[in-house]
Amino acid sequence: MSEKVIMKGNEALAEAAIRAGCKCFFGYPITPQTEVAAYMAKRMPKVGGVYLQAESEIAAINMIYGAAASGARCMTSSSSPGISLKAEGISYICGADLPAVIVNMTRGGPGLGGIQPAQSDYYQATRGLGHGDARLLVFAPASIQEMCDLMTTAFDLADKYRMPAMILGDGAIGQMMEPVILPEPATRTIDKPWAATGTELKRAHNIVNSLYLQPDQLEDNVRARFERYVQIEATEPRCEEYLADDADILITAYGISSRIVKSAIKKARAEGIKAGLLRPITLWPFPKAVLKKHAAHAKAFLDVELNMGQMIDDVRMAIEYARPVEFAGRTGGIIITPDEILAKLREMEAK
């Protein structure tokens, strides 16, 4: 059993990736995730892995494309503007059915935005990110421990479904320090008969490709991928339910904002406001069934995010517009306070 250590989020994330079997890391410096690269630069050579600083975010994601195409467990990390640059490569990774892990330690946007924590890349992460009909698995950890635990899951599911997985953190999760029990090193290896690793003259050549010039072939390819997506939506959604069963007002929040919500819920409960939390851990697949179940007893929903309201669309669709959904959020790098959420709960309770 590993012992508990205190680590910075970005460094714990990097160590967890190595323990999950990540063999190659390609990245480009950007605040607030640069410690991931710095840690990888220090550790990868010692564990027989690859660390390379790419000339751009675009090159980094294409190095990932190459490493993944030739069978390696690999990861890149960045923050919001850098993820936009990676979008092209992520689309190709989706189109070529390659497993890879992409980390976004989100900062405020749009444009160069700011360097403080934000959750304003929800749409980008959950709507497929690059061009074309495609999805990413998106995990939204709320603590450093959860981020480390989800790392192995992200790699495993990326391999299982042959698609990219994203760890959607934020500047707070990346920068803060917390006690964490690091996962045990993964020992499982996954056979990748599709990978371009050289034929050894023993088989027909493998082609890793996203080009289908015949429309019917491209449609068949996309449909086959969507069959996997249907399976993923049925089996992989994860959601934490906190004081939800008797709640009149259900708050939806993910990642760092869910922790602030919990503080607000405790204060609200002390005042007799029956508030609870539904915290999606997977943003795609979105835990629709859990939300719909609780819509039966909750009178209203309150969506809390560090943006102008993005997940709120998924909340409304999940509960099929059966209850009013209000919003409380801050953006631009400002962290919402428990009191701001509490004020909103009081306002809703009074209605």
């Binding site: 790419a54 675009i58 090159a59 294409n62 190459g66 195409a69 490569g89 371009a196 690793t197």
Partner: protein
Amino acid sequence: MSVVFDRPHALADVSTHYCPGCFHGIIHRLVAECIDELGIEGKTIGIAPVGCSVLAYNYFNCDMIQAAHGRAPAVATGVKRANPDKVVFTYQGDGDLAAIGTAETVHAATRGENITVIFVNNAIYGMTGGQMAPTTLPGQITQTTPFGRDVKEAGNPIRVCELLSSLDGPALLQRVTCDTVPHIRDARKAILKGFQNQLEGKGFSLIEVVSTCPTNWGLSPVKAIEWLRQNMLPYYPLGVYKEVK
């Protein structure tokens, strides 16, 4: 009966989509011959670009990866770093390598990435129907330079070998062509050296093959070769621009 001419094993037994008179067919064959000669087909991974040679993944019998436009050197870097014992080559055109992929090209070169780059320069975007390329000659008429490339408006062409020759990373930068049998033999030797360098761990090798595009130049195959000699070779002189012995 002795066989005097045969298809290289590394070259797939399929028809290509290339136009008559285009050098891609010759260059594919040379690459495949070199792979055969070195006995490396089983451990070679090729990277196809976006452009006329996008379907190169169908034409080589080694494992192939299709890359995004211009990103082949980055993709090759990922493959090579993950599999340092494998042989990795990219096959790219001028738009791919010298316009949208300039950063990837320059940085793979300066890192001395241990890969082999086959660069086909025909001074035009072929696949999209003949637009100005980074290597389109001054005055050359294309779909997007209908009055001839005016360097004051459209800028000047890039000479890739010369541009990269200031870098410390490359092991081989050589420009060849395929207009005559002796030149084809020289091209073959250069490509072979490019692969040998990789096997010896010497680093980045780029072989630029000055090529024709009869279709988009609007010339017959024979006239296209004449045009190449009269216009391309004076602007893009053949030769070795860098070689680490």
